[in-house]
Amino acid sequence: MTTPQPLQIRRRATGGETEIELSLDVPSDLEYVGPAVELIADELPGGPLSLRRIRFNFRTAFAEALANAIAYGNRRDPGRVVRVRVEVARDAVRLHVTDEGNGFDPADVPDPTLPERLEREDGRGLFVLRSLVDHVAFNEKGNSVCLTLRAG
């Protein structure tokens, strides 16, 4: 897959509890989801998360959060970006994904495993997200999510 403009990852050592911070601005085009996930996952230092959790939990949860931010938050508006910030600490990796949309109420999202919803094509993103990480926190507006994967 080719992307029309290269993604630029920024990396800084922070000191304190967070040792390294990675950040990335992602254009509001779903074609960027896969490349952005690979770029960040490849830059994650070994240590807090096992390779298996990086390969599956981190990548899948990140792809979900990013796709939601691009499609539902920024409504694929090319004038908007999704800001990604990853804090790598000894005890956890925290992934912040923030869009420029109006937010939503996660409590309004129905359970996709209900029998009447099982054969629907969409509506599983938030459920998958919650299943794969240790903690999910939205800001009050609902346009920024912080996913926490504890070390292990």
Binding site: E31, V37, F56, T60, A67, A71, E119, E121, D122, F127
Partner: protein
């Protein structure tokens, strides 16, 4: 990241998912399988042996393909799921919707 399609000697269409099945490439998989369905394919196996991860859009496209194949009187089987992917299907209860077997050989033998 790509999809391979091949037909075995019994006419079973075997689709390999290499890398990931996510929002950015799910339409490509959907189109390839629908083309094979239009071309007379009835029996389909999707092999995830070489798949790293699947997001909810990828799961959604599998649900959609399963319905379309069934509507045409066909049959879809999934195989090659690693432990993590198997868990994803179980959490979302999609393991109750799909015929899932361990290996491509088992999938082919089950038709």
């Amino acid at each position: 990241m790509s999809f391979s399609l091949k037909k075995d000697k019994h006419g079973v269409v075997v689709v390999g998912v290499d890398g990931q099945l996510i929002v950015g490439n799910r339409q490509e998989l959907k189109q390839k399988v629908l083309d094979a369905l239009d071309g007379g394919g009835k029996k389909f196996v999707i092999d995830f042996t070489k798949t790293g991860y699947i997001d909810s859009s990828g799961l959604g496209v599998l649900v959609s393909l399963s319905k379309k194949i069934r509507e045409q009187g066909g049959d879809l089987r999934l195989c090659g799921l690693n432990e993590d992917l198997q868990t994803l299907f179980e959490l979302t209860k999609l393991d109750t919707l799909f015929a899932i077997v361990r290996t491509p050989e088992e999938a082919l033998a089950a038709f």
